[in-house]
């Protein structure tokens, strides 16, 4: 007779035949999802991304539609209200602040993500190559990074924006230029420790080509730290862009970013229209906090020794 326990055991052994290993990535994912603050941050982040992508569908007005009837009557007619359709009120020019915040959030997120993507791709490959090759190549490559880092980039970026015109493309180029420098240093440092491990030596001894070693053995092992740093780099880039926009050099009208919106709101602070400041500022802060929480959670998950 086949009993209940036998059936259970059979099922278990059948499962054993195709046993799948738990990679370090899966372990890290389990640890990440056990961290409540990080998971909350992740949900907030998803909500904000959804807001940036689909919020425009709920707006009653286009972001660049100027409601001339509100001119000069902002303080009492442009108040946030559900009935007027201006959920977040209007800005100084009578444009719908909800639509503007959606636009600003998406541009800020885009800047942050593009900046950190450039950092991940360029910085990691550059740093890993420098660290792996070593010797004089390493020296030259890292001195280039040092030199680029020593240039005050805010100044260069402002010059670039003045000379080549203020456009979003220019802003992306400027942010892309600086964001990878720190990443390259981190990746190189990690590579130096990884390349002395025996599994790299084993690969060399087998005759695996250096490029394959970097891609197959070095980068997967430093990716943990790179991901953490990239997550923490996104808010940094958002702050950077906001600062440029706050100076009036970043994103240009009719486009907008959170920094530009905060700037516009701050200039109206004394006129009793505080919503112009607080809505974009709220989104800005929530986004940053969410990124930091997720970044912290990732760090704890990917590097359990450093807790």
């Amino acid at each position: 007779m086949i009993t209940q326990t036998d059936v259970k055991m059979l099922e278990e052994t059948a499962h054993l035949a195709q046993v799948r290993g738990r990679s370090l990535w899966e372990d890290a994912r389990v640890r990440f999802f056990r961290n409540k603050a990080a998971v909350a941050g992740l949900f907030v982040l998803i909500a904000i991304c959804a807001f940036a992508l689909f919020g425009g569908l709920f707006a009653k007005f286009e972001p660049d539609y100027v409601d001339f009837s509100l001119m000069g009557a902002n303080a009492y007619q442009g108040v946030p209200s559900l009935s007027s359709g201006h959920y977040f009120g209007t800005d100084i020019d009578g444009r719908d602040l909800f639509a503007r915040t959606v636009q600003g959030t998406s541009i800020s997120l885009l800047v942050g993500i593009v900046g950190s993507l450039v950092a991940v791709v360029v910085g990691t490959l550059y740093g890993a190559t420098a660290g792996y090759v070593g010797g004089r190549t390493d020296g030259i490559m890292m001195r280039i990074v040092d030199i680029l880092m020593s240039i005050p980039f805010m100044f260069v970026l402002i010059l670039m924006l003045v000379i080549f015109g203020r456009s979003i493309l220019m802003l992306f180029i400027g942010i892309g230029l600086i964001s990878w420098l720190n990443m390259a240093r981190i990746a190189r440092g990690q590579t130096l420790t990884i390349k002395n491990k025996e599994f790299v030596e084993a690969a060399i001894a087998t005759g695996v080509s250096p490029f394959t070693i970097i891609l197959r053995h070095i980068i997967p092992n430093l990716l943990g730290i790179v991901i953490v740093y990239a997550t923490l780099l996104v808010p940094e880039m958002i702050i950077f862009e906001s600062f440029i926009s706050y100076l009036g050099l970043g994103v240009q009208e009719p486009n907008t970013s959170l920094g530009a919106l905060i700037n516009a709101g701050a200039s109206q602070m004394t006129n009793g229209t505080l919503w112009m400041l607080f809505y974009p500022l709220g989104f800005f802060l929530i986004t940053l906090f969410a990124f930091f929480f997720v970044g912290d959670g990732l760090r704890d998950a990917l590097d359990p020794k450093d807790r």
């Binding site: 046993v19 799948r20 738990r22 491990k197 690969a203 005759g207 053995h217 997967p220 092992n221």
Partner: protein, 327 residues
């Protein structure tokens, strides 16, 4: 005797060491890791390499697989000089000579599955092998080294030290090499697991007709597995001879001290034994003693030892010792 599969001719390996806080133009110090070492390895033979830490055993192994540069002498693989090899021949050499590493876990990439790790040499040297063949060959080999083939998708951290070492051995064997170098393959393992791994190695060697260089600092393990033994001290060979002869009747004073230090697993016999204990530590390889490097600790030291470097002298049948006062 047939042509040796590997012969090392007067090999020396020197590392540059930067003195601390030195100016950029101060010359580097020279660290002599291996110096003036010559050995021949016959096909199918197992050569044991013993010596304390820092005696250059691992450096010798790395020079043979070509991951450290050779600064003097020559290594001939099947009569061909390693230095003079072109890219193609070098690839062939890399394929034929495989290595098993000391730290079982550190020698496996933690982000790759066991199947990928074992298959790596195969995929590197025969990139056109269909995926199915790769998988079946990995499975066969896993069975051969005593691992369940259904563990193919597992990751190294899910295995014990002994199992990791079996994975390392499987990786070394997948290309059916001619020469396998084992760099202290069992020193990180438990004694019971050591025995299993050593037996696995001897069995595999017999089946596949491998030549093997087996490095260890544990004489009892080396004695068990090797045909001949080379005793090294500070990068230089002290004694070379058949394994039984070297262990039973060592002729070089250093080998004698080494044999005497092997513990006997019987407390009474152990306590009753009189043994010459070596004084002092290993001298710095940055500034080795002149003449015979062992003279600073040798019980038989004499004035001439500081002079010329002692040559290898026949001290028994097939046995040679680098000491003019050998027994």
């Amino acid at each position: 005797m047939s042509e040796p599969i590997l012969s090392v001719r007067d090999l020396s390996v020197t590392f540059d060491v930067r003195p601390q806080n030195a100016w950029p133009w101060t010359p580097s110090l020279k660290l002599q890791a291996v110096s003036g070492l010559s050995i021949d390895l016959q096909p199918g033979e197992t050569l044991g390499l013993v010596g304390e830490s820092g005696s250059g055993k691992s450096t010798l192994a790395r020079a043979i697989i070509g991951t450290v540069p050779v600064s003097g002498g020559d290594i001939l693989y099947k009569g061909q000089s390693l230095m003079a090899m072109g890219r193609q021949e070098r690839r062939k050499h890399r394929r034929d000579v495989q290595m098993v590493f000391q730290d079982p876990l550190a020698s496996l990439n933690p982000r790759m599955t066991v199947g990928d790790i074992i298959a790596e040499p195969l995929v590197t040297h025969e990139p056109d092998t269909p995926r199915k063949d790769v998988k079946s060959r990995v499975g066969e080999l896993m069975e051969r080294v005593g691992l369940l083939p259904n563990l193919i998708n597992r990751y190294p951290h899910e295995f014990s030290g002994g199992q990791c070492q079996r994975i390392g051995i499987a990786r070394a064997l997948i290309l059916k090499p001619k020469l396998m170098i084992c760099d202290e393959p069992v020193s990180a393992l438990d004694v019971s697991v050591q025995a299993q791994v050593v037996n696995l190695l001897t069995e595999l060697q017999k089946d596949m007709g491998l030549s093997m260089i087996f490095i260890a600092h544990d004489l009892s393990v080396v004695k068990h597995i090797s045909d001949r033994i080379v005793v090294m001290y500070l990068g230089r060979p002290m004694e070379i001879g058949p394994s039984k002869a070297v262990c039973r009747a060592p002729t070089h004073p250093y080998t004698q001290a080494l044999i005497a230090s092997v513990p006997i697993p019987d407390p009474k016999a152990e306590r009753a034994r009189v043994r010459p204990i070596l004084e002092g530590d290993l001298p710095s390889p940055l500034a080795p003693p002149s003449g015979c490097v062992f003279r600073t600790r040798c019980p038989k030291v004499q004035a001439v030892c500081a002079g010329d470097r002692p040559v290898m002298d026949t001290s028994g049948p097939d046995q040679m010792a680098a000491c003019p006062f050998h027994d």
